[in-house]
C-alpha cells in the first residue's frame, strides 16, 4: 500500500494529519462507514479515488472506477437504494455527464445514504470550463454543502452521510480546487464499519419512475427539501461570526472565499454569516442578518449564487439593506478569487483600509515567455499526432480533439486541434463536420475517453455513413489524472474489454493497430485512411511512457540513450519545428542536441530527423 494511503487508513481517532482536501474526504467516507464508492477520475477530484482504491480491500469497502460519471452515479445510487452508504465523486463537468441520472434520482431519493462530491475548478487549472455546480444542486433540488478547508471537507463529508441518511435523498458536497488541493491539518475521527452486502427491498412506487410515480416524486423531493431547510436554519454550519464594532456591515460568504475574508478579519468591522449549507438557504436566518445591518457584502467564487438569493430575499421581505458583490464588479465572476482580489474589492468598497493592498500595486513585471504544459518526452501521443500532421499536410483536414493529455497536441508546433468540447465530442463533432463539409476529418480520442463517451458517437458515425477517421490514442491508462485503470485494461482479475472488438462491434470495418512510436507506419495509415470512405479507426498504441519507465526502473533497467551526431546535423531544425520533444534543444549555432536529463529514450526522433543524424548510443557507452 502507498505509505500516504496507509497513514490515512491507520490514523487513530484524535490524530492530526496533514491532508489534502481530497484525502480528508476519503478519510471521512471511511469514518462514515461507506460501503461503496465509485468515480470516473477527473481533476481536481482524483485523489479521493487514489486513496479509496488503495485502501478499499483493507477497509472492507467496495471501490470501482466506473466507465464514466453517469455509470458511477447509477451504481452508487443502486448501492444506496439497497440500503448501503455510498460515495460518488467527480469533477464538475463529470456531473454534467451524470446529470441525467441525478435529476430523477432526486425524485426517487435514496435509502442508506448517497453523498455526491463535485470538485469544481474555478480558473480552469485542468478543465474545459469553470461552471459553478452549486447551480446544478439547486436545479436538482438537492442539499448542498460547501467546505472552506480540508478540515471542513472532512467534517462536512461525514455530516453529508448522516444528512443523506436522514433526508433519504442524495446530498452534494461541492469543493473547489483550493479546497480539494489544499493541504492542511485535519483531526480525524474513528473509522466506521462497512456492512458489505445488502438486500434490495422492492418499492416500485418510489423507485420506478413512471410518470405517475414521478409526479409524486417531485412533490416528495420538495417536501424533503423543507426538512433540509429547517436543518439549514439551525445548523452550526451556517453561523454568525462577529468582527470588530461597529457591526452594521455584514459579510456573507461560503467555501474558500470565507478563508480569504478571514485573512483580513482583524482589520474589518462588522459581522460575517459563514454559510456551509447553501441549498436550501436558511431564509429566516438570512433575513434576520440582512435586517441587522445597513449594507451586506457577498463574497463567493464564480456565479452570484448567494448574491442573487440575498438580493431576492431582501426584495421579498422589503429589507432596507445595500447588497454589494459581483453586481457592482467588486469581485470577478470569472476565475478564482484569492486573498488579494477579495482585499481589492473591499478596498474599493471602502470597508478595508487601502494599506491592505499597498504591496500589490508596486510590481513592475517584465514580459516573460509563458510556460504552458506540454506532452512528456517519449509520449506516444506526440508521435501519433506528428504522423497525422505529416500524412495530411497538403490537405484540408480538420482535427476534432478530445479530453486528456493529448489535448496538448493543439499547441505548436503540431497544432492538431480544431474543436475541443467535452468527453467523447471528437467523434460526435467529427461526424457532424463530415456531414456538412467536404473537408476531411481526423478525430483524436484517448483510450479511457473512448470507453467513457466515444462508443455511442462512433456507432452514430458508422450508421450515418460519415467519412471520418478516428485515431484512438491508446496509452493503456487514464494518464492525465494519475494513471487510473479503465475497462480496456485487465486489473485484479477484472476482464479487459477488447478495444478492437468493441470498435468492430460498432460496425467499423476498417480498423488498424500501430505502435504509436511507428511514425512511418502511422503516416502511411493516416494517408490511406483520410482518402478512404466511411469510418476508419486507427489505434495508435503505446503504453504511457511514464509507466513504462517506472517499470523499467523497478526492473533495474534503463531507457535507451540517443544522441545527435554533430557532424551529421544539418541544422535544419525540423525536429524541433515539427516535432518539438522537450528533450531536443537548439544550440546557439542552430544545431540540435538531446538533453539526456529530459530524454525518455523513445527513439522516435531518429525517424523524424531528415538527415538521420540521431542514433542510439550503444549500451556499453550509454
Amino acid at each position: 500500500m502507498d505509505p500516504d494511503h496507509e497513514r490515512i487508513l491507520q490514523a487513530r481517532s484524535g490524530e492530526t494529519l496533514l491532508l489534502l482536501g481530497n484525502e480528508a474526504i476519503a478519510r471521512a467516507a471511511l469514518e462514515a462507514g461507506a460501503d461503496f464508492a465509485s468515480t470516473y477520475p477527473g481533476t481536481p477530484s482524483s485523489e479521493i479515488g487514489l486513496v479509496l482504491d488503495g485502501v478499499a480491500k483493507a477497509a472492507g469497502l467496495t471501490f470501482q472506477y466506473a466507465v464514466n460519471e453517469k455509470v458511477a452515479l447509477e451504481t452508487a445510487a443502486a448501492a444506496s437504494l439497497a440500503g448501503l452508504k455510498a460515495l460518488v465523486f467527480m469533477k464538475h463537468v463529470g456531473l454534467n455527464v451524470a446529470s441525467d441520472a441525478l435529476m430523477t434520482l432526486a425524485y426517487s431519493g435514496v435509502r442508506g445514504a448517497l453523498v455526491i462530491v463535485t470538485a469544481d475548478d474555478p480558473g480552469c487549472h485542468s478543465s474545459q470550463n469553470e461552471q459553478d455546480n452549486r447551480i446544478l444542486a439547486r436545479f436538482a433540488n438537492l442539499p448542498l454543502l460547501e467546505p472552506s478547508t480540508p478540515q471542513e471537507a472532512h467534517e462536512l463529508t461525514k455530516f453529508a452521510f448522516e444528512f443523506s441518511g436522514f433526508l433519504q435523498m442524495p446530498v452534494i458536497v461541492r469543493t473547489t480546487t483550493r479546497v480539494a488541493h489544499a493541504r492542511g491539518p485535519v483531526a480525524v475521527g474513528a473509522l466506521g464499519k462497512p456492512r458489505g452486502k445488502a438486500h434490495f427491498e422492492r418499492d416500485p412506487d418510489r423507485f420506478v419512475m413512471l410518470p405517475a410515480h414521478a409526479r409524486e416524486g417531485h412533490k416528495r423531493v420538495l417536501q424533503r427539501l423543507r426538512l433540509a431547510e429547517g436543518i439549514s436554519e439551525s445548523s452550526p454550519l451556517n453561523r454568525l461570526v462577529d468582527l470588530k464594532e461597529p457591526l452594521d456591515t455584514g459579510y456573507i460568504t461560503s467555501g474558500v472565499a470565507y478563508t480569504y475574508l478571514r485573512e483580513y478579519a482583524d482589520r474589518l468591522a462588522g459581522k460575517v454569516l459563514k454559510l456551509g449549507l447553501t441549498n436550501p438557504l436558511p431564509r429566516v436566518k438570512l433575513a434576520e442578518f440582512l435586517r441587522s445591518v445597513t449594507r451586506v457584502v457577498v463574497i463567493e467564487e464564480l456565479e452570484p449564487f448567494l448574491e442573487d438569493a440575498v438580493r431576492a430575499l431582501a426584495n421579498e421581505y422589503a429589507i432596507d439593506v445595500q447588497v454589494y458583490g459581483k453586481a457592482q464588479g467588486l469581485f470577478p465572476r470569472t476565475g478564482e478569487l484569492d486573498p488579494d482580489s477579495v482585499a481589492e474589492g473591499l478596498v474599493r468598497l471602502g470597508t478595508l483600509d487601502a494599506d491592505a493592498v499597498k504591496r500589490i500595486r508596486d510590481v513592475k513585471m517584465p514580459k516573460l515567455p509563458a510556460r504552458p504544459p506540454v506532452l512528456c518526452p517519449g509520449c506516444g501521443h506526440r508521435a501519433a499526432a506528428y504522423a497525422a500532421r505529416q500524412a495530411t499536410r497538403r490537405q484540408d483536414v480538420l482535427f476534432p480533439l478530445d479530453i486528456g493529455c493529448y489535448s496538448l497536441v493543439e499547441y505548436p508546433p503540431v497544432r492538431a486541434g480544431d474543436v475541443l468540447l467535452c468527453m467523447g465530442a471528437s467523434i460526435g463533432v467529427g461526424a457532424g463536420l463530415a456531414a456538412v463539409t467536404d473537408q476531411k476529418v481526423l478525430a483524436f480520442i484517448g483510450d479511457s475517453t473512448f470507453y467513457h463517451a466515444g462508443v455511442p458517437p462512433l456507432i452514430h458515425a458508422v450508421h450515418q455513413g460519415a467519412n471520418l477517421t478516428v485515431c484512438i490514442l491508446d496509452n493503456g491508462t487514464t494518464a492525465m489524472t494519475g494513471h487510473q485503470p479503465h475497462p480496456g485494461m485487465p486489473e485484479d482479475g477484472k476482464p479487459a474489454v477488447d478495444m478492437e472488438g468493441l470498435v468492430r462491434g460498432c460496425g467499423v470495418r476498417n480498423v488498424e493497430v500501430y505502435d504509436a512510436y511507428d511514425v512511418k507506419g502511422l503516416t502511411k495509415a493516416f494517408r490511406r485512411a483520410v482518402s478512404h470512405d466511411g469510418v476508419n479507426v486507427i489505434i495508435a498504441r503505446h503504453r504511457c511512457r511514464l509507466l513504462e519507465l517506472r517499470d523499467m526502473r523497478a526492473d533495474g533497467a534503463r531507457a535507451p540513450v540517443y544522441q545527435v551526431t554533430p557532424e551529421a546535423c544539418t541544422k535544419c531544425g525540423f525536429c524541433i519545428d515539427a516535432f518539438a520533444c522537450p528533450a531536443l534543444v537548439r544550440l546557439e549555432d542552430e544545431s540540435v542536441t538531446i538533453d539526456i536529463a529530459l530524454c525518455n529514450g523513445c527513439g522516435v526522433c531518429v525517424e523524424v530527423c531528415p538527415p538521420k543524424a540521431i542514433a542510439r548510443v550503444p549500451e556499453e557507452n550509454a
Partner: protein
C-alpha cells in the same frame, strides 16, 4: 511564533509539490501550524508549477502578493515569475539552470538574459542566493536531488523557524529509501552554501 509564507516555483516534474510537502510536514512535526496549496493535473506536464506553504497561524495556504518571506525557484524564469509575491525582506533561493519553454525552443519568444533575471531578483528582494543546484546534484551522482540542494539552502538562510535536523527527519520519510542518502547529502550541501553565501571567510 510569527508565521512565515513560502512560495516554491518550478517546472512540472521538478518536484515542487514534494518539496513543499516536506517543508509543511517538517513544520507540523515541530508543532507549528502548516498548510500548503498544490495544483495537480494538466500543469504537472512540464508547465509552470507553484506551490505555497504557510507556517504558523493562517486562514488560507495562499500567499498574498508582496508578502512571501521566502521564495524558492527551481528554474530562473519561474523564480522571476513569482516576483509579485516578493518584498524588500524576501529571501530568494534560486537555481541558475534555465529550462527553455517550448515557445523559446520554437523561436517564437526569447529566453530573457540570465543577468537581467538575476538583477530583477536582487532589485526587489532582501537576499538572493543563486545556486548551481544541478551541478551540485550531479556531483552527488543523482540529478534528481537538485531540489534538496535548494531546500537545504532555504533552511540555511534561517528565514523559516525550521532547523535542518527536522527537515532531514521528514525528508527521509518522503523519498524512496534508495534516494534517502543522496537527498540528505544534497540538503546538507545546500544548507552549507546558504550559510557561507555572502561571507568572505568568517560567518555568523
Amino acid at each position: 511564533m510569527k508565521g512565515a509564507s513560502v512560495l516554491i516555483g518550478g517546472v512540472g516534474g521538478q518536484g515542487v509539490i514534494l518539496t513543499a510537502r516536506i517543508l509543511a510536514e517538517a513544520a507540523l512535526a515541530l508543532g507549528l501550524g502548516a498548510q500548503m496549496s498544490e495544483i495537480h493535473g494538466m500543469s504537472q506536464r512540464y508547465g509552470s508549477v507553484v506551490s505555497s506553504v504557510r507556517l504558523g497561524k493562517a486562514e488560507t495556504p495562499l500567499v498574498k502578493r508582496g508578502e512571501a518571506d521566502a521564495i524558492v525557484g527551481f528554474e530562473p524564469l519561474e523564480t522571476v515569475r513569482l516576483l509579485p509575491w516578493a518584498y524588500r525582506k524576501t529571501v530568494i533561493v534560486t537555481s541558475i539552470t534555465p529550462i527553455r519553454p517550448l515557445s523559446v525552443s520554437l523561436g517564437q519568444e526569447a529566453y530573457p538574459l540570465l543577468e537581467d533575471l538575476h538583477e530583477r531578483l536582487k532589485d526587489r528582494a532582501g537576499r538572493v542566493i543563486f545556486i548551481d543546484a544541478d551541478r551540485i546534484a550531479r556531483s552527488i551522482g543523482s540529478e534528481v536531488v537538485a531540489n534538496s540542494v535548494l531546500l537545504g539552502a532555504l533552511i540555511g538562510t534561517k528565514a523559516l523557524p525550521i532547523p535542518l535536523d527536522s527537515v532531514r527527519k521528514t525528508l527521509v520519510k518522503h523519498v524512496p529509501s534508495k534516494l534517502a542518502a543522496p537527498n540528505l547529502e544534497a540538503l546538507d550541501i545546500g544548507y552549507g552554501v546558504a550559510i557561507q553565501d555572502g561571507y568572505s571567510i568568517a560567518f555568523a
